[in-house]
Subunit: 878 residues, 2 copies
């Protein structure tokens, strides 16, 4: 049996999106529920794939089917292609399964030639209209199908207007237009070396090929890369008999949404123009009227349209975005699709549709894009102000929100300026842990280097603070205190504005508006919580972050990084003494100074979290990150420690590493400096005991050992932690319970997870490091090639943002399976950046983790994404 | 049934080594083949394991069996423990399955007490002998079993000698010795709070426990870590009735090898002393006689001994190391074991034993330790000179061989001094690719930092040059041009000597002797080649290295690193221009300068290798490694390129990376700078075509794309290589064949090997990087903790030296299996450092690779190891 490559609209349905494209499937659906749709046909996406398989050629079979169906279309409409009295004209439009701008522009009026133009003239009783349509068609066809430069046609048009001293196109006479048709055909021939095709079938086949070719034009490829759409699915072509909104005063055209796409309000929202074509509405030359005005002009059409709009929403059970045309008093529907909407509108519509019994709670949960919630949780630029601004640079949208302030180039300067009451933006090549205080105080952070998981990005997301990272077109000179981009030079104190949701950087100050989380938000979250199976924890190091995350619905802390606690100004001195100590005694003395501070940190966290679980990771980063670099600091330290400067510098140099990410960090520190792990364990256990007593609750802290790769590491450290903890419990006469687990972030650990599991009460997957090592990409350096990789289609996504399911994911899967073989009920979570990414969350749900942990501002995103994962995978599971 | 914990010698055999220990098993074997062995019993290694299981206690069952067997021993010998006329005395010795110094010293004369001492006096008719033995026994027992400080006994002895003004121990009278026994018992009681045990059974049980405890003393643990022996196998205890070599002129004792352990010559080689105990031979106080002198003294005993020696070698089919004692004219065998030998001796003995039909060729191949061949391939220190020297420091034995020369602290200084005719040693903190020339010219290399796979180590091994790396006790100041270690300060031009096989560093100059590869070497290699299944290739970048490796038997080049070719003084300038170019045109111009040089490099290699396969890896390291750091070089470059210094410095900074190992390197360079890969491909293909024509052969170059992690990388680059290669072939009218493959070194690539295989003609596993990323250990930095890790038993081996079979190995296994699923016959090899490590080679054989590739001087090691792997795994395979 031969394959069916072409479908009449009446043969298809909305279910066939992947075959007919979104547009084609919806046209078919509307046709079949009896709405007034101009008849047409769809060439399938499979024909597109076949076209490419044949080396960009339509097969004979496809051509034959197009011709056959064209005949059926002629029968349906009672018109004939190229006819001199009642010719069939069609529009040709691309339409992929996923809505995708960037492909071929529409071709209207296909079927016009030297004969049928006369037929149209007769039929419309308007010769000028016919020739105007014809010259437009030649230009459109030449431009779109054969890349004849548009300006050549435009120049010819301008010539005639100048010669006759016309101000506007409407002054062109029928004869002018007839002359223009000749001129356009001449241009066409000069540019393409062939005559303008007079056979409408030839026109159509050429147009179909052009649509298929446009699937792989640069814009379309870029778009697919950007939105993670497969390059293999192809586009369909829709061929639809023309209706004209510009056939006089009883004609018109418009677009409408069944609900307000900005607010979600349940009220048809649309615009239309009388005596106009679709392009005119979009182009903005004439100001369209709001849809309610149609009631005054054509009340019956208005009622009919309102009915159709209501029915379409009821039929599709979602807010629709509709295009319509009125031809000489008759209403035609040209398109319907699910309407794009803001996060706010999506929320409101979803919640209200449940109230209207239109959709189920599960459907409502599926209707809101989790990532879009970010918009609702952070300050945004005032929408009217931002429309007037043009960005001067674009970096990575590292942490969402908007911020305006004066630029400062060092963390100290930014902190001081903030204390003076200024709004500040910290601008750095990159940030380091020493900059924490300045980062906390600035409104936003801009870096010229680093990727989505660079220090600046990770810390900013943790703080819920706006950050644009890796903005490579900006040159930052921290010594001279200037930043430059193109010809623009900005110095300390100048204003800039950052949009962390888009990566845009603006010169000057732009007003921001605060987030307003409405009741619909809470309602949707409640439903999400009903469906999700994954627990949601947060990555938080401070009581402040912990409080925010609890407000957002976090059920525990999945990762408390203790190193941030070491950078506090009061402590860093003791920390440094500890590190450069060349004896255990000296080190223990320095650690004893830090102990009470660490204990208070943990008490603060435990007080906020109550009995919710808190996972605390022992010290992780390479020690040299804590080491002083300023001469001044070095001198101070050397004096306090009675250590010669030369010796101190020798120690500092000896701590440097070529590849610190692969160096002396994580549990490797705890092995070589067990006294650090002992101090931290003591601080955790003492804090947990004290808060348990004070609040009369039972806290069960989870102590996490980072960077384990070899079972002996966790064996030794687990013993050390337990020994210390039991000593503290004996001292305090407490029967506190606690758990000791590990961060799974070394590829080897995943491969030998059955060995590691013996010594772990829980796993938390550190997918940042795991991605880093599985790919061999340094988070700090990969920015140099990851963007080219995405442009070239080598990487569909940044693997640090969305987990690589087939590579890194396989690693996680292996680890979960091997671990559960040994301990079927061990709790396992993920605390990498991926814990807040919806696609990753879907994966973690499928792989069987117990929870995800993400930065506080991502908690609502994660709750929703987890619910969607549960709903989406319901059939597969159990 | 109760377990048998104790065996009489006559109950065991040589096959029971793991149960009875090596010594016990051999004593049993000798007993059963009718040799004169003093009767005894062995407490098994399982009893040792049980001892630890019970919290370091002998179970009642074990104690009961010891006592039972003791009774049988009394019956066998006709003597009785503690008897006043014919007492049984025994020696107690430890004996693990693998010979292991560091455990308990021997206890002799156990069974002596206040009664039996009289029995011995009567029986030997020598009261002085009896009391001398008794006081020695108390000291030995106190020291070894209960850690009574030895010096306390020594002081007491000295006191008596001083009081009586004796010069030597032989002047002590029987009464003195009786007094000393009393004194020693007093010391024993003071130190242990208990009386010296008079019951011989108690003595024995205490001694057995002491042996078991000694299994876990610090020295023994260190030894096991060093030689990779499991800590779980335990030791046996041998209890043997005493015979005395010091019972007068017809008594004596000695040791002998059945062949010469230094040369392998087939002639019994031994030494003995009359009227002496075993310790006297070893201690070196009296000079022993050579074994042939025994013929003059006791001809019958001599003949009997020679017979036994011959029979033992025939029985064990290996060279034996034998201990014997003559007691009053009667010969006793106390021990036999496989004799330790030099590599030279091992080779000669193995080859000659095949000639004697004593062993098979397979056995001969198994008899030589592959790693020991290194000794034969490099210069060594003159054995007599080295005996007189004490090392001043010890680093890692990074590249074998010995070297003496004047020290220089920069590569340039070393190169210049060499050109002046001096023998030089390059001393650096660490080396970098810029030092290549100096490294080539120096006799040896010493670094104070870096591990076994640091730059210095890898490059030196590649060159077959002596190198001691990571010698942390040496402080190197390259600016001041001094090195210091302890109180020794050496400056430029001072002599040092390095032993790259041991890591020892000596002050001053020591004579070296050149390697002498005898015919036995070639013979054994020939046999090895008969058995091995793995091909052996080499890692070589230069014609010189390639020639050496072919001489050593390499069958191809498994890895030619092209980056070393870029550092050549003449080229580095062009290379730098290429890197800092900010336009493709400029970069291509610089590359055009490099092309002819690269082509000549490859022609040189192809000429040496002929039709043997040559795998050439495209440029791998991060570009910044090539960048100038000296102000002078930067100025020169900026002038030549007409580029402002500030701009050049900006580019240099922008190339820096935080973690270069995980950065912009490998195929990531080829993706972002495709013109580099195109130039290299052109150079390879042109060279292959030209040499094929000149030599009238068909060269099939293998082009290897490094660091692939994602299938799109190899897809794109494979196309680029093929396109370039086909262009060159068309230009040159050639039909050259070539292959395009990838280096498997990224964990992700292994996990998705089925995807990668589609685009690869071959795989070469880069196990250095694979280990680096699977463990998350930087080769450059891991030295900081790997040594602690080995001491703590966290790592049994340095995973960069011997492949981690369960983690990294699983990764290789996954990759091989997934790859072969797609392409069952794809050839796969390994080119990491592990390719020259025998244990790793065994693994690669089992996992089904086709070849290993190692540095030229490792080729013979690899040939032998591959043969052993094939023999060892013969039963398992097929």
């Amino acid at each position: 049996m031969t394959q069916k490559w072409v479908y009449l609209f009446k043969e298809g349905s909305a279910k066939q999106k992947s075959l007919l494209g979104g547009k084609g499937a919806n046209l078919a659906e509307m046709t079949n529920i009896g709405l007034p749709v101009p008849p047409g046909l769809t060439v399938t996406t499979e024909a597109c794939t076949e076209f490419y398989k044949q080396g960009k050629k339509l097969t004979d079979e496809i051509i034959a089917q197009i011709k056959e169906n064209l005949q059926l279309l002629e029968e349906q409409t009672g018109k004939k292609f190229g006819d001199e009295s009642n010719p069939l004209l069609v529009s040709v439009r691309s339409g992929a399964a996923i809505s995708m701008p960037g492909m071929m522009d529409t071709i209207l009026n296909l079927g016009l030639n030297d004969i049928s133009v006369e037929g149209i003239a007769k039929k419309s009783n308007n010769e000028r209209f016919a020739y105007d349509s014809y010259r437009r068609f030649i230009q459109m066809f030449g431009d779109v199908v054969l890349s004849v430069p548009k300006y050549k046609f435009d120049y010819a048009l301008e010539d005639i207007k100048e010669k006759n001293n016309y101000k506007s196109d409407t002054e062109l006479t029928t004869d002018d237009l007839k002359g223009l048709v000749k001129e356009f055909k001449k241009i066409y021939k000069e540019e393409t070396n062939s005559d303008f095709p007079q056979n409408p079938e030839t026109q159509l086949l050429m147009a179909v090929e052009a649509v298929f070719r446009s699937w792989n034009n640069a814009r379309a490829i870029t778009y697919r890369n950007l939105y993670e759409i497969s390059h293999d699915i192809g586009t369909a072509v829709n061929v639809q008999s023309m209706v004209f909104g510009n056939m006089g005063d009883t004609s018109g055209t418009g677009v409408a949404f069944t609900r307000n796409p900005s607010t979600g309000e349940k009220k048809v929202f649309g615009e239309f123009l009388m005596n106009a074509q679709g392009e005119d509405v979009v182009a903005g030359i004439r100001t369209p009227l709001t849809i309610d005005k149609l009631q005054d002009i054509m009340p019956e059409i208005y009622d009919q349209f309102m009915d159709i709009a209501h029915n379409l929403e009821q039929h599709y059970r979602d807010m629709q975005d509709i295009e319509f045309t009125i031809e000489q008093g008759k209403l035609f529907m040209l398109q319907t699709r699910s309407g794009k909407r803001t996060a706010e509108a999506a929320l409101r519509a979803a919640v209200e549709m449940v109230g209207e019994n239109l959709i189920t709670k599960e459907e409502a949960v599926m209707r809101v894009e989790p990532k879009s919630l970010d918009q609702l949780l952070h300050p945004r630029f005032d929408p009217t102000e931002i429309k007037k601004s043009t960005p001067i640079a674009k970096g990575l949208p590292a942490s969402p929100g908007a911020a305006t302030g004066k630029i400062y180039f060092t963390a100290e300067d930014a902190a001081m300026a903030t204390e003076r009451g200024e709004a500040t933006i910290l601008v750095r090549k990159e940030t380091s842990p020493e900059d924490i205080e300045g980062m906390t105080k600035a409104r936003g952070i801009l870096t010229s280097r680093g990727g989505m998981t660079s220090h600046a990005a990770v810390v900013a997301r943790g703080m819920g603070k706006c950050c644009v990272a890796g903005c490579e077109s900006v040159y930052v000179d921290e010594i001279q205190k200037i930043m430059s981009v193109g010809n623009i030079k900005l110095t300390e104190g100048d204003y800039i504005s950052l949009d962390g949701s888009t990566g845009n950087v603006y010169e000057g100050s732009i007003k921001t508006v605060e987030p307003n989380i409405s009741g619909n938000f809470g309602q949707l979250m409640e439903w999400a919580d009903e469906f999700r199976k994954l627990g949601i924890r947060t990555n938080a190091d401070t009581p402040k972050d912990a409080s925010i995350s609890v407000k957002f619905g976090a059920e525990g802390i999945g990762l408390c990084r203790t190193e941030h606690m070491f950078f506090d100004e009061e402590r860093i001195f003791s920390v440094r003494k500890m590190i450069v100590s060349d004896s255990v005694v000296q080190r223990e003395k320095a650690l004893a100074e830090i102990l009470p501070m660490q204990k208070n940190d943990f008490k603060g966290l435990f007080k906020v979290m109550g009995i919710k679980p808190v996972t605390i990771r022992l010290l992780d980063p390479p020690l040299h990150e804590f080491i002083p670099h300023d001469e001044e600091d070095i001198i101070e330290l050397s004096e306090d420690m009675h250590m010669p400067i030369s010796k101190l510098k020798e120690i500092i140099v000896s701590l440097q590493e070529f590849n610190p990410m692969l160096g002396h960090r994580g549990c490797r520190l705890a092995i070589t400096y067990p006294e650090i792990a002992r101090m931290q364990t003591r601080a955790i256990i003492e804090a947990a005991i004290e808060v348990s007593v004070e609040e009369n609750i039972n806290i069960v802290p989870e102590i996490m050992i980072p960077l384990v790769g070899v079972k002996e590491e966790i064996d030794i450290l687990r013993k050390l932690v337990i020994e210390t903890a039991e000593n503290v419990k004996t001292e305090k006469n407490s029967n506190l319970k606690y758990e000791v687990g590990t961060m799974m972030e070394i590829p080897r650990a995943c491969l030998v997870s059955d060995e590691i599991a013996e010594f772990a009460d829980f796993y938390s997957f550190g997918t940042n490091d795991l991605t880093q090592m599985t790919y061999g990409y340094s988070r700090d350096d990969a920015g140099k090639f990851i963007s080219s990789y995405r442009e070239l289609g080598i990487l569909e996504n940044d693997p640090f943002q969305s987990i690589d399911q087939i590579g890194v994911g396989k690693m996680v899967d292996i680890a979960v399976k091997l671990g559960r073989k040994v301990k079927p009920h061990m709790h396992m979570g993920v605390c990498g950046e991926h814990g807040g990414d919806p696609a990753s969350i879907d994966f973690f749900h499928r792989v069987g983790l117990d929870y995800v942990s993400c930065s506080p501002f991502r908690v609502p995103v994660a709750r929703l994404a987890a619910a969607q994962a549960a709903i989406r995978n319901k059939d597969q599971s159990k």
